[in-house]
């Protein structure tokens, strides 16, 4: 087996605190291959940031073995840090420094000489479309610009592995796309990326591999395409009705091709083998039950999450 860029074995993290503390990560195993774009998808408090924190030497694991770029992060934190770039969940740019200085000094921290650091800062500003903001301090930046600068800074010393904690949280759709493009670009040149997200779309469209996490555990881990097939369903229908009733539920269950019916807050969620014919069948079955609205779509990672946990990703 070739050496993985990130290897996490049996990671457990319990934060100290009253009542035995908080078990934030409960036995996580991960292998991220070189050049892979790996996503951790999970709801708030799932343990995503903690997992990244351990990988980036900022959280001490309670137990487990973690190697990033072949370096044991607990044994040699400085050497591990030398090979990784990190964008944390905080928008944490150096505010007293200009955009250019944020990049320049970052290179200096990593031992780069002055001339090379200057060139690199210029080059990154141009590539991340921040050249016109060269001498501005990040306080005046929009969320999208600040995030681009953060990513530029994280990759400035040319790390092999990049960690992005919620890289698009709080960004407008356009900035989100821009960040996705940047991340795809980095991946295309061979960077290994581990990102966390609670946006289903981000995990589906951006990542090669997705691990769905909840309560500190990885529930499943696979490519988005295979994860979506894993329920066996070819289609999902959401049915919203005035009033739930056992009779309606039975009728829906009896529809041809329907494999599962789960009650939801507004009605029911159906899993079916195929999309074909599902919509008219549901409409007909719900006749007389106060059908408010219904939609049929392809299964998404959210379907898997609900399937596995019985909850929606965003509550």
């Amino acid at each position: 087996m070739p050496q993985a860029a990130i290897e996490v074995e049996n990671l457990v993290k319990r934060y100290a605190g009253p009542g035995g503390g908080v078990l934030a990560v409960d036995g996580v195993n991960l292998r991220v291959a070189q050049g892979e774009l790996f996503g951790l998808l999970g709801p708030n408090g799932a343990g995503k940031s903690t997992t990244i924190g351990v990988c980036t030497t900022r959280v001490r694991p309670t137990s487990g073995r973690i190697r990033v770029g072949g370096v044991d992060v607990a044994a040699e934190p400085p050497r591990a840090r030398a090979g990784m770039g990190v964008v944390t969940q905080f928008r944490a740019l150096d505010r007293g420094a200009t955009a250019w200085e944020n990049l320049y000094f970052h290179c200096r921290y990593f031992g780069w000489p002055a001339a090379a650091s200057r060139r690199r800062a210029d080059e990154l500003l141009a590539q991340f479309q921040l050249a016109d903001r060269r001498d501005a301090t990040p306080e005046a930046f929009s969320g999208g610009m600040a995030q681009r600068l953060q990513i530029a800074r994280a990759v400035a010393h040319r790390p092999r592995v990049l960690f992005l904690d919620e890289p698009t949280a709080g960004l407008d759709p356009q900035s989100r796309m821009a960040v996705w493009d940047l991340v795809r670009g980095l991946r295309a040149e061979g960077m290994t990326v581990l990102l966390t997200t609670h946006y289903i779309e981000e995990a589906e469209r951006l990542c090669d591999q997705v691990a769905i996490v909840d309560h500190g555990k990885i529930l499943v881990c696979d490519t988005p395409a295979r994860l979506k097939q894993s329920t066996g369903a070819g289609a999902v229908a959401r049915v919203s009705v005035e009033q739930a009733s056992a009779e309606l539920e039975a009728r829906l269950r009896a529809l041809p091709g329907v494999t599962e019916v789960e009650p939801t807050a507004e009605g029911y969620r159906l899993l079916a083998h195929a999309r074909e014919g599902l919509a008219p069948a549901v409409a007909a079955a719900a006749q007389g039950f106060g059908l408010r609205d219904f939609s049929v779509h392809e299964p998404s990672l959210e379907t898997i999450f609900i399937h596995l946990t019985g909850r929606e990703l965003r509550e």
């Binding site: 400085p78 050497r79 944490a92 821009a178 670009g185």
Partner: protein, 281 residues
């Protein structure tokens, strides 16, 4: 964005070393702090000179003119007593102004320090850099304040440097103590508590710091003389007193040197441990 190609451009820069150079990373942190200090030099100077400026102006220039004079000690007038005292405050307070306050805010609020925490050097070195850089700031503050307390007073000031070595050692040790104390406070205190800290820590440190009177004279209030030994500013003031105004009664050199070494080492240890606790979970 069409960044894919350009980002993949062959690196002109060296590949990441197998073992990072801690010294270079440390130097990088110093360079960053120096750049920000240079940008902020004006506010650095203003916050450093305001207190001693008004103090010497009122107490050694105006008060004598309006017939409200402090008597001084023996042959030394009050202006002479103040010289080491006000320089001592300038040194010690750089630790709080330049280390504790910004650090407290960075750790709890802005997280600006994140990037420096990811630098390839041990966290203890990153913490120590804070102390080390503030040593230079304290020395700079002493250099800025000295001419003011020397030239402004209307009454003549008698400064006599018996040993430049002693002066240099006292200033450097005091500056270390200041930085280390600043690091300790910065890691212990939340930004919302800074006002409180000024009231309950800074004020007693100043007034009980042998700034306005030599320690020896406190013998008439024995309990206070002993209690002030817990105040690091006492040793800074007394050390400077011995180095700058040896004619004024002062502690023996062994006493303030030992105390300064102990407080610099103790607060460094405490501050670095606190820093580590704050940034690593």
């Amino acid at each position: 964005m069409s960044t894919t190609e350009t980002l993949a451009a062959p690196p002109q820069a060296p590949a990441a070393p197998a073992r990072p150079s801690y010294a270079r990373a440390f130097w990088g942190l110093m360079l960053r702090d120096a750049r920000l200090l240079r940008r902020d030099l004006f506010s650095f100077v203003v916050r450093t000179i305001m207190n001693p400026l008004f103090f010497v102006f009122i107490f050694t220039d105006i008060m004598p003119k309006i017939g409200q004079n402090f008597s001084g000690v023996g042959a030394a007038n009050f202006a002479t007593i103040l010289v080491p005292g006000l320089v001592a405050i300038a040194i010690l307070f750089q630790g709080i102004m330049a280390v504790a306050m910004p650090l407290s805010i960075e750790l709890s609020g802005t997280h600006e320090i994140e990037d420096r925490l990811m630098a390839p050097l041990p966290i203890a070195w990153t913490a120590f850099e804070k102390i080390f850089f503030s040593v230079f700031q304290s020395i700079l503050a002493a250099l800025v304040v000295f001419p003011m307390v020397y030239f402004i007073p209307a009454t003549p000031v008698h400064v006599q440097v018996a040993s430049w070595w002693l002066l240099a050692v006292v200033i450097v040790l005091s500056s270390f103590t200041a930085g280390a104390l600043g690091l300790t406070i910065g890691t212990l205190v939340k930004p919302q508590q800074i006002g409180m800290i000024f009231a309950v820590v800074v004020t007693p440190i100043i007034f009980l710091g042998c700034v306005y009177y030599p320690w020896a004279l406190l013998r008439r209030v024995k309990w206070l003389q002993i209690a002030t030994l817990a105040n690091p500013l006492v040793y800074v003031s007394e050390g400077l007193r011995a180095a700058l105004t040896p004619a004024v009664p002062h502690m023996p050199a062994w006493a303030f040197l030992a105390a300064l070494v102990l407080s610099a080492a103790g607060f460094s240890w405490w501050g670095i441990a606190g820093f580590r606790r704050r940034v690593i979970n």
